[in-house]
């Protein structure tokens, strides 16, 4: 009975069935993505491949012992899948993914509350990397005035208290600190404002307004005043109108609209440090500061997975070499195909 099950699980026919089932499932997923629909729960996406992966691994392990491989390359290629599977398991147990938002000049100390999201849940202390750094500078480059990034980097200093080491984080790469890789995933800028009422400072500091890219309007509410803001980061006056010259922060102008209980009470454009007043309130935009979203990834399984991938490539190349040899033999012996 057990032997029969093992034979079936390790059979060539079962290998083919698994490949065809995988194709069917991928057709389903592709179709869902194309029509912008997702399965109701995310486990419905990853659970079927996980079950498939277990069966596929079992099929390969059994076939390694029962069927034998004519070529070493083939054997290595198939063993590579087992290595990848081990890596996936390690990743699922120990992977940490987190994101944080930092403004130019901010310091990150690696605390749970500093992340805007992370994957560790209650295991934060166990999985999160020990990490601290200071974000010194953010620079973004665009193609003309278009929302088309041609450069984005953030310079940091780290190494515990000394901040002696300098590094640059990019969108597609960055330093690895204590096993955690840092990359950028987003960029924007936020205005810094003062809000006073009857001479009293009610609010002072950076807002969380999402006003990037220019043209995007966001609002914040202070003391029942809804303040709608749009920014022109590189404003110039053309034909009596304020227009944006580029996406870079040069001479920002804020288009501000203030509502009080649904009624518009103020609407104008103001420059940095220019005060606008309505009755007993006054608002000053002190400037515009860039921010970046930094992703922190620590995944010990990743190396194992890539070890598997490299093994797969080596196996295939070995198979090609042996195939070339046998081809030459045929050619020499038969003088034809």
């Amino acid at each position: 009975m057990l032997k029969s099950i093992i034979d079936k699980l390790g059979s060539k026919r079962f290998s083919m069935i698994l490949l065809k089932v995988a194709v069917g499932y991928l057709i389903y997923l592709t179709f869902m993505w194309i029509i912008s629909t997702r399965p109701p729960a995310f486990w419905m996406v990853w659970f079927p491949p996980a079950v498939w992966g277990v069966l596929f691994s079992v099929n390969i392990v059994i076939s390694i012992f029962t069927q034998g491989y004519a070529y070493k390359g083939n054997l290595i290629f198939h063993i590579a899948f087992i290595i990848v599977a081990v890596g996936v398991v390690v990743s699922s147990l120990y992977r940490f993914e987190g994101s944080l938002v930092l403004l130019e000049g901010d310091v990150f100390l690696g605390e749970r509350s500093s992340y805007i999201r992370h994957s560790a849940g209650d295991d934060f202390d166990r999985l999160a990397p020990k990490l601290s750094f200071k974000l010194d500078d953010i620079s973004a480059e665009f193609w003309g005035w278009r929302m088309y990034f041609t450069g984005l980097e953030a310079k940091i200093r780290h190494s515990a208290a000394s901040l002696a080491k300098e590094d640059t984080i990019l969108l597609n790469g960055g330093p690895t600190i204590n096993g955690a890789r840092l990359t950028l995933s987003s960029y924007g800028y936020s205005p810094y404002l003062h809000f006073r009422k009857a001479g009293m400072l009610i609010r002072k500091g950076i807002t969380s307004l999402q006003i990037f890219p220019p043209g995007a309007e966001d609002k914040l509410e202070i003391n029942n005043y809804k303040i709608f803001v749009t920014v022109y980061p590189d404003a110039v006056e053309r034909d009596g109108r304020i227009v944006n010259n580029s996406l870079s922060i040069k001479d920002p102008v804020f288009a501000v609209r203030v509502e009080w209980f649904g009624e518009e009470v103020f609407s104008d454009s103001v420059r940095v440090d220019e005060e606008f007043k309505y009755q007993d309130i006054s608002i000053i935009f002190e400037g515009l500061r860039p921010y970046v979203v930094i992703d922190v990834i620590k995944d010990p399984g990743e190396k194992v997975i890539f070890l598997g991938f490299i093994a797969a490539v080596i196996g295939l190349l070995m198979r090609l070499v042996s195939s070339g040899r046998s081809n030459r033999k045929i050619k020499n012996n038969a003088g034809e195909l």
Binding site: A22, Y148, G151, F309
Partner: protein, 282 residues
């Protein structure tokens, strides 16, 4: 840019002429076939090099640039295939056996590219990496082999479906097609695997994960599995070429959807096939 467009249209005309020539038996016009094929590779290659110089990056951005490389790859592989398939035989009557398919595919590819934005653009940050360049390089190496395999598959299917003759030339061509079908499949599979490994490593840098749930990745793995089915069917169950050919065609349809189809549905993928469309939709 004027020189670029001159070279581009010259390549387009040469490809159209090659297709016209290939409609009759190449065997008697080997010299013409060779001249046209080599001219296309040289002229289109020069156009690609010039565009690379003008844009400051390899031709990997947007569908238009992809069509340039794809068409060039198709013709180049056809020439290389003709060189390789001699396999000790003095009978060269099979030269240009796939010319009508390759020239037609190259012509359609070049014309298809004109549907898209042809402007030279700087690379977006996500594409600025040697990992992407090599990922793209191996994607075209795989594409070339799979194209060859597809031509052979079409040839095998057409032979199977009607034109069975005892003609010795047909028999030799069938052997050549059989050889191309399996070689293209095997070499394409290796290149596609390397293409995936490079892409997934770059994905860890860009997205923090080697696998991202995305339609490009689904179509990629789907085609990889379909090619794997064709390879395993032949090894495990000694499938004959016509049956392998059907799986090769199915896999290539998926590849086509991935390479050329997803540019029309940019919301379904994070890959940037055409920045113009992506920005417009975004």
């Amino acid at each position: 840019m004027t020189t670029f467009w001159t070279l581009y249209y010259a390549a387009l005309i040469l490809t159209a002429l090659l297709f016209a020539v290939s409609l009759s038996a190449i065997g008697r016009r080997r010299l013409v076939y060779r001249c046209f094929s080599l001219s296309i590779v040289i002229v289109l290659g020069a156009a690609i090099a010039l565009r690379w110089q003008l844009s400051g990056h390899p031709p990997i951005l947007g569908v238009y640039e992809a069509t340039l490389v794809a068409a060039w790859t198709i013709i180049l592989y056809d020439i290389l295939f003709d060189r390789a398939k001699g396999v000790g035989s003095d009978n060269r009557s099979e030269e240009g056996v796939f010319a009508r398919y390759s020239s037609m595919a190259a012509l359609i590819t070049l014309l298809y590219g004109l549907l898209f934005d042809t402007d030279v653009k700087p690379l977006v940050i996500s594409e600025q990496s040697w990992w992407v360049y090599f990922h793209a390089l191996f994607s075209w190496i795989a594409y070339g082999f799979y194209m060859l395999s597809l031509f052979a598959a079409i040839f095998v299917i057409l032979q199977e479906r009607g034109a069975k003759t005892s003609d010795s030339s047909d028999s030799a061509r069938s052997l050549v097609a059989d050889w191309a079908l399996h070689r293209g499949l095997l070499y394409g599979f290796v290149a596609q695997t390397i293409f995936f490994v490079l892409g997934s490593y770059y994905s860890t840098l860009l997205h923090g994960a080697w696998w991202v749930w995305d339609s490009v990745e689904y179509l990629f793995v789907m085609s990889w599995f379909l090619y794997a089915i064709a390879i395993h069917g032949r090894i495990f169950f000694a499938w004959k070429s016509p049956r392998v050919a059907l799986w090769v065609v199915a896999a290539f349809v998926v590849l086509l959807a991935m390479y050329w189809g997803l540019s029309f549905i940019p919301w379904a993928t994070y890959h940037i096939f055409d920045p113009g469309i992506k920005v417009h939709v975004g």
